[in-house]
C-alpha cells in the first residue's frame, strides 16, 4: 500500500504527537492511574509509527504485548499504591507541564489534609527533636511523587534530548537504501526465527520460563511462622462465635422431637 506524501506526513505527525505527548503526560501527571493510561497512548502511537515504517508484525506485537499485557499488570500494581488518584499531591507546587497534565484531579479538602498532617506529626515523635524542618521534610517524603532531584533530572533529560537531536541533525547522512521491503514480512521473520536465529528464540523461551519461576517464587508466601505474608494464609478462627438467634426453624413435619428415619421408611416411600 503506497500512501502519498501528504498522507504519510499527516499520519507521522499524528502518531509522533501521540507518542511524545503520552510519554510526557506519563511522567508529569500526579495521578498514577493517569500515568498508566498515558503510557498506553504512547505505546499505541509508537505502534502506529511501526506500521508506518511497514513493520506490521512489530506494530501488532507492540499492541498485543504492551497494551494488552503489560499495562494490565501496571494498572493492577497501581492499585497497591498509596493515593493512586493523586488527590493528595495535586495541590503541591507544580510546573506548568504538570499542571496541564493533571488538570481536573479533585483535591482533598483542607480539613482532611490538616488532619493527616497532624497525625503524621504525632506518629513520629522521634522527628520532633529535629524541629519543624524535619517534620516538613518527612511530610514531603510521604506525599510527593517525585524525588527531590526532579529539577536536576529535568535539566539532565533536556540536555540529553538536545544532544541527541543535535547529533542527529549534524550527522551527514546514512546510506539510505531504495529497496522496499517484502509485503509478506511475517513469513520472512518466521523463517529467520526458526532458522538463523534459532538459538535466540530458544534463549528467549528459556528466559521467559525462568522469569515465570522467579516471579512465582518471589510472590509465594514465606515458610517461616513470623513471616508477615503468611498470616493471611494460616490464620484460623479459633473460637467461632455461636449463633445467637437463628431465625430458621428446624426442618421436619413436627417442630418437636425429630422423627426417626430408617432405611425401610425410605423404601416404603417408593
Amino acid at each position: 500500500m503506497i500512501l502519498d506524501a501528504i498522507t504519510q506526513w499527516i499520519a507521522f505527525t499524528a502518531f509522533a504527537l501521540i507518542a511524545i505527548g503520552g510519554a510526557l503526560g506519563m511522567t508529569t501527571t500526579m495521578s498514577m492511574f493517569r500515568s498508566g493510561i498515558f503510557l498506553m497512548a504512547s505505546f499505541i502511537g509508537v505502534a502506529g509509527l511501526f506500521i508506518l515504517l511497514s513493520a506490521d508484525l512489530i506494530g501488532l506485537l507492540q499492541v498485543m504485548m504492551y497494551v494488552g499485557g503489560m499495562l494490565v499488570m501496571i494498572l493492577f500494581m497501581v492499585l497497591f499504591m498509596n493515593d493512586p488518584g493523586g488527590s493528595m499531591m495535586a495541590g503541591m507546587d507544580m510546573s506548568p507541564v504538570e499542571n496541564f497534565f493533571s488538570r481536573g484531579i479533585k483535591l482533598m479538602d483542607t480539613e482532611n489534609g490538616a488532619g493527616h498532617e497532624e497525625h503524621s506529626g504525632h506518629s513520629s515523635p522521634n522527628d520532633n527533636a529535629n524541629g519543624e524542618s524535619g517534620k516538613e521534610h518527612g511530610m514531603e517524603m510521604d506525599m510527593s511523587m517525585t524525588t527531590p532531584v526532579k529539577k536536576h533530572a529535568a535539566v539532565l533529560a533536556i540536555v540529553v534530548g538536545c544532544v541527541l537531536v543535535a547529533l542527529l541533525l549534524l550527522r551527514p547522512s546514512w546510506p539510505i537504501s531504495v529497496l522496499t521491503p517484502n509485503p509478506a514480512s511475517a513469513e520472512q521473520i518466521g523463517t529467520l526465527l526458526m532458522g538463523k536465529y534459532m538459538m535466540a528464540f530458544e534463549g528467549a523461551g528459556l528466559l521467559i520460563l525462568t522469569g515465570i519461576f522467579g516471579a512465582v517464587l518471589l510472590a509465594r508466601p514465606g515458610k517461616f511462622p513470623g513471616d508477615a505474608s503468611r498470616e493471611a494464609h494460616v490464620s484460623v478462627d479459633e473460637d467461632p462465635a455461636p449463633i445467637a438467634d437463628d431465625p430458621l426453624k428446624p426442618l421436619g413435619p413436627k417442630s418437636g422431637e425429630p422423627r426417626e428415619i430408617s432405611v425401610t421408611d425410605i423404601h416404603r416411600d417408593r
Binding site: A5, Q8, F12, A16, A19, I20, A23, L24, M26, T27, M32, L39, S42, F43, V46, F50, L52, L53, A55, L57, I58, L61, Q62, Y66, M70, M73, I74, M77, M81, N82, M145, T146, T147, K150, A153, A154, L156, A157, G161, L168, W174, I176, S177, V178, L179, T180, P181, I189, L192, L193, Y197, A200, A204, L207, I208, G214, L218, A219, A228, S229
Partner: protein
Amino acid sequence: MAIPLTAYLIVAAILFAIGVYSVIAQRTAVMILMGIELLLNAIGLNLIAFWRYVRPDDYSAQIFTIIIVTIGAVEMGVGLAIMMLLYRNRQTVQVDKFEDLKG
C-alpha cells in the same frame, strides 16, 4: 519514503529523554518500571527505523525488536513480583525507603 529517517530518530530521541527523566525523577517503583519500558520502546523505534531505511532486505532488526519486547515483558513481570514482595514486607513501594538489606 517521503519522511526522512531523521524524523523518526528525533521522535525516538525525545522518547528516550523523557524516559531518562522518568527513571531518575520518579519515586515509586511502578513509575520507574514505566520509564524503563519507555526507554525500550525508543530503542525499538530506532531499530525499526534503521531497518526500514538502511537494510530493508534483512529482517534481523525485527527479530532484535521482538527479543527486546520479550525481555521487557520478563523484566516487568519479575520487577512487579519483587515490588509486591517488598510491599508485603514494608507496606510501601517508594524505592527511597528501601535502604537496608535485611528487614
